[in-house]
Subunit: 225 residues, 2 copies
């Protein structure tokens, strides 16, 4: 029953997030300079990344993820597949979305609200930095995987390509600030810079951060050093 509740609540969160996603500041298309590029801010609901091996166990040998919706960063997508998570005291989160593509190691990204629900003390980490993080039980339609590690609260971060990084004067791993103006104005001071040639300028926060700053009511964004 906890699962149903969590699912309903999350569905609405995602709806709000989709509305917030529509907000864009500044002009600029694909050929605009970095300074003219739109700053897009997304809230990521809780999700999992899976390894090939764990996908086989959870959904059956050789299973391929079904892309359901493209994400803003090219090549990334929300899959049709979902899993259930079970915490150490049999507390659950149901219907947690799988994001593609597959990764070398499975990873679970939760907001702190989700982590409290599961009874897991999730450390704040950048995606991929999962040494020493807690594990969780993952249940799929074909099997169960007990992850020994990989549960994190993803640190707020900004994807950008090298030209955009040069525009801001930042390098890989630097921290920037994001000001969200509106009904509940907030400056997130620990926005970690992730530079990749294939990236588009894009800040990712989680649902706790989105709710704290009332992202669905935001009137403007400012990313700065």
């Amino acid at each position: 029953m906890a699962v149903d509740t969590a699912t309903i609540s999350r569905a609405l969160v995602e709806q709000i997030v989709r509305e917030a996603v529509a907000k864009r500041l500044g002009a600029g298309g694909p050929t605009a300079s970095a300074s003219e590029r739109k700053l897009v801010v997304h809230a990521s609901a809780r999700h999992v990344h899976l390894s090939r091996q764990d996908l086989d166990v959870l959904f059956g040998a050789g299973h391929e993820l079904t892309p359901d919706k493209d994400l803003y960063q090219e090549g990334n997508y929300a899959a049709a597949e979902t899993v259930m998570l079970v915490g150490p005291r049999r507390r659950t989160l149901g219907s947690v979305r799988v994001l593609g593509p597959l990764r070398k190691e499975s990873q679970v990204e939760l907001a702190i609200t989700d982590a409290i629900q599961l009874g897991i003390d999730a450390p704040v980490r950048l995606s991929g930095d999962i040494e020493g993080t807690p594990g969780v039980v993952v249940i799929g339609p074909a099997g169960i995987v007990e992850l020994r590690r990989g549960v994190i609260r993803a640190a707020i971060h900004a994807h950008m390509n090298p030209a955009e990084a040069a525009h801001y004067g930042v390098k890989q791993g630097d921290r920037m600030k994001l000001r969200v103006a509106g009904a509940a104005p907030v400056v997130f001071e620990g926005v970690q810079v992730r530079i990749d040639p294939s990236s588009r300028l894009n800040v990712h926060m989680d649902t706790d951060e989105a709710n704290a700053c009332a992202l669905h009511l935001a009137t403007g964004f400012e990313l700065f050093k």
Copy 2:
């Protein structure tokens, strides 16, 4: 069943909040100057304030609230009494704490996460400013009240007495900033100043804000203009 889930989750939130409450910066006791006073930051879980009339309906005519735990602001307390809230599409939040003392008009303070759960679009307001806000159904052991208004997401605010306000150079209704240092550093830029002779310096945020800044991992607080 939604009620059980919400209750468990909230209980843990409250536990984390209690831990965070222990954090204090700076020295100073009751006789210290404003600049030396400790800055205490609290997260308020969702709660309701009730009018005399609504308390009578919900808990029985002439019922008196049972103080369960004193809050930091003198005279305020968490009561033993709880109510259930029912949103417009029969979505519920169970065991929502009643805070005392009674007020002239009932009011429901929710985090945005809670409001999403209930299916209510709660505006960001200061406590008491409920003109034009949505209503909700409140269920108690002795009866049901349909509030026509009063559901808000309480804006982050700082209680202080006139001496503390003078120290900061702020007046009633001004906005200040609160920096929370730690694993997820955040500056809340819309901290509303509430001055009262009986107040003690104290910032109140809600559970979304507490989770966004990982308040339980905070290493320091700074309140400034």
